[in-house]
């Protein structure tokens, strides 16, 4: 019994890990309708900023997280102003190609600045090891991940999806001219959304990189997972991304526990089945 509950908890924690990794893309894709695969590179940047701040400057882990959010957010606004804004009106494939090109460039740049090998993270002692909760031995970092992810999800769903700001962003995306005429500063709103999306991606990178290992190929290695979570959840919904991340996370961990011989099949099969069943994702708005 205890082992089933532990496995289940680990599945939830993995789900939240997938959520924090994908939510950045979910925001830009959902809010702005912009297929930004370079979010994976922003995640990597978040990881490297965490490494630099923690290892080279000796800052505490919790102080580093807001720094990562702000810095990566700032970088993504710069990239948005310089490059992305010229591509809002192009089709999905063009955006995919543009941003995958940027991913390639980011890999080479990371190799140049940080070297090709894996980075070393010395996590603070309070976050490593295990804790006893309700008779279960749970990993502290996973508990932290679940808590952090849950707070993030609630904040985003109530702060972005169901508020004036969310409505404004959608209005801008749906019709820039009308939104502009209504007195909304579309440029500012777009830049702001990008900053949030990028910052979240950076946070996701920082939270996952120390667990998964960080090297310049980080974006390519986890891009597929991010894509799967966001599209199964449905374009344009943070709630959907959360549900998809948790479902896939739990299914993956349970699958590996009960049917280890199937390996990655379970998560892929689930993806194909979901997408055939609901081509626009679980909570997608449809075309």
């Amino acid at each position: 019994m205890a082992s089933i509950l532990t496995v289940l908890f680990n599945g939830v924690a993995y789900g939240f890990l997938l959520f924090v990794m994908s939510v950045g893309l979910s925001v830009t894709l959902g809010m702005m309708n912009f297929v930004n695969l370079a979010q994976a590179s922003f995640s990597m940047l978040g990881g490297y900023i965490l490494v630099t701040a923690m290892q080279s400057h000796g800052l505490p882990f919790l102080v580093c997280l807001p720094i990562v959010f702000v810095l990566v957010g700032a970088v993504s606004v710069i990239v948005e102003r310089l490059i992305f804004r010229h591509f809002y009106k192009t089709d999905d494939l063009t955006q995919v190609l543009l941003t995958i090109g940027l991913v390639f460039m980011s890999i080479a740049m990371a190799t140049y600045f940080w070297g090709g090998s894996y980075q070393r993270f010395d996590m603070p002692s309070w976050i490593i090891g295990q804790k006893e909760i309700f008779g279960l031995t749970l990993e502290t970092y996973r508990i932290f991940l679940v808590g952090f992810g849950a707070v993030m999800a609630v904040a985003l769903i109530f702060g972005l999806e169901r508020t004036q700001l969310g409505a404004m962003v959608r209005a801008c995306v749906d019709n820039r001219r009308v939104a502009g005429a209504c007195g909304l500063n579309t440029e500012l709103i777009f830049a702001f959304t990008f900053a949030i999306g990028g910052g979240l991606a950076g946070l996701g990178g920082a939270l996952s990189a120390n667990l998964l290992g960080l090297d310049p190929n980080f974006p390519l290695r986890y891009l597929v997972y991010i894509l799967i979570v966001v599209s199964v959840g449905g374009m344009g919904t943070i709630t959907g991304t959360l549900i998809a991340a948790l479902t896939l996370g739990i299914a993956d961990v349970l699958g590996k526990y009960y049917f280890p011989q199937f390996g990655s099949f379970i998560i892929y099969l689930l993806t194909v089945a979901f997408m055939l069943w609901r081509p626009h994702g679980l909570l997608g708005r449809g075309a």
Partner: protein, 340 residues
């Protein structure tokens, strides 16, 4: 026909001329293939590299049938390439070493898989389609990689023997046979595809790309056409895969990796979709540049490939071929042909 007033003969004739002109071979097309064949005679030419370029061009052209003509993007096209490659590999391993018949067999198997895939996805569009094709790709890749006993897994299929083409031309290390074999097969399949896109079925594919709902109200079996398009594209992709196996006598999991699906999409978009030549142009640019960059800068060539992509989508929105075409049209200021 009773209510039909007969059209003036001249008007009618112009219609025939229009379609005849569309399908006619242009000078530059002949030059293109002649130049490709001429590469063989250039001293110091890396013929293995050229046959690789041709094979990638053929592969990208097969995706063009789906993406350029039918408007279906696929993130799993390497499934068919890899299937063709592995079928050809199995043939060579288990004694069916005659390459041409094995090529046909590989095409047939890939076509069957393509038809099934088409059946599966014919009601799905957009992101759903991308993710389903991607998912299928990952599943097949995983299967091949893990099935060490069947496929050799990561090591690839061992013991592939390919007999000389027509019992005369052995596949040598200089790539002489490989070059001509790849070129001739690709050219024949190119001609077949060229006929296809200029046929009534080709027109129906373009119609469904432009407006599937209207095609339905014209009575066209739009969903069935998706399967048919997948089947044809898969057969040609399978042929490209088989060519790769036969010219290199190796086949390993990278032939059906997701990376390959992404690369072929990139190649097609670089060249320009819906032009039939986009795949070949894209392959020439992408593969040669990749080869060149990786030899001068083995560690950082990713950067330059990435930059190439960014530059191309920034300045040649629809790909090299259409952009250059538009430039040319403006330059010589003649009435543009209707694209089809």
């Amino acid at each position: 026909m009773s209510v039909m007033e007969p059209a003036p003969a001249a008007v009618s004739q112009s219609g025939h001329d229009y379609f005849a002109t569309l399908a006619r071979w242009k000078i530059w097309e002949i030059l293109f293939w002649a130049a490709l064949a001429g590469c063989y005679f250039v001293p110091e030419m890396d013929r293995m590299l050229m046959s690789r370029v041709i094979i990638w061009g053929l592969f990208a052209m097969s995706l063009d049938i789906l993406l350029g003509y039918r408007g279906i993007p696929s993130l799993g096209h390497a499934v068919f390439f890899g299937t063709g490659a592995y079928v050809a590999g199995f043939c060579g391993k288990y004694g069916w070493s005659e390459p041409i018949s094995a090529l046909f067999f590989a095409m047939a198997v890939a076509a069957a898989l393509g038809w099934l895939t088409g059946k599966l996805v014919q009601r799905v569009a957009g992101v759903g389609l991308l993710m389903v094709t991607l998912g299928l790709n990952l599943i097949l890749f995983d299967f091949v990689l893990r099935s060490t006993d069947l496929t050799g897994g990561d090591d690839g299929l061992q013991g592939i023997v390919i007999a000389p083409v027509l019992n005369m031309f052995r596949f040598d290390i200089y790539g002489r046979t490989a070059f001509w074999y790849a070129l001739v097969v690709s050219f024949i399949l190119f001609i077949a595809t060229r006929i296809l896109v200029n046929s009534p079925f080709g027109l129906a594919l373009i119609g469904a790309r432009e407006n599937p709902r209207r095609m339905i109200t014209l009575g066209a079996p739009v969903e069935g056409d998706v399967s048919r398009a997948f089947m044809i594209a898969a057969a040609i992709a399978g042929a490209a895969g088989a060519l790769l196996t036969q010219t290199t006598q190796t086949v390993a999991p990278p032939t059906l990796s997701f990376q390959r699906s992404a690369d072929v999409l990139v190649i097609l978009i670089i060249g320009g979709a819906g032009r039939l030549y986009g795949g070949f142009i894209g392959a020439i640019v992408f593969i040669l540049l990749q080869d060149y960059l990786s030899s001068i800068s083995p560690v950082y060539w990713y950067f330059w490939i990435g930059l190439l992509l960014v530059v191309i989508v920034s300045f040649f929105r629809k790909g090299l071929l259409p952009s250059l075409d538009a430039l040319l049209q403006r330059f010589i200021k003649r009435k543009p042909d209707a694209p089809s």
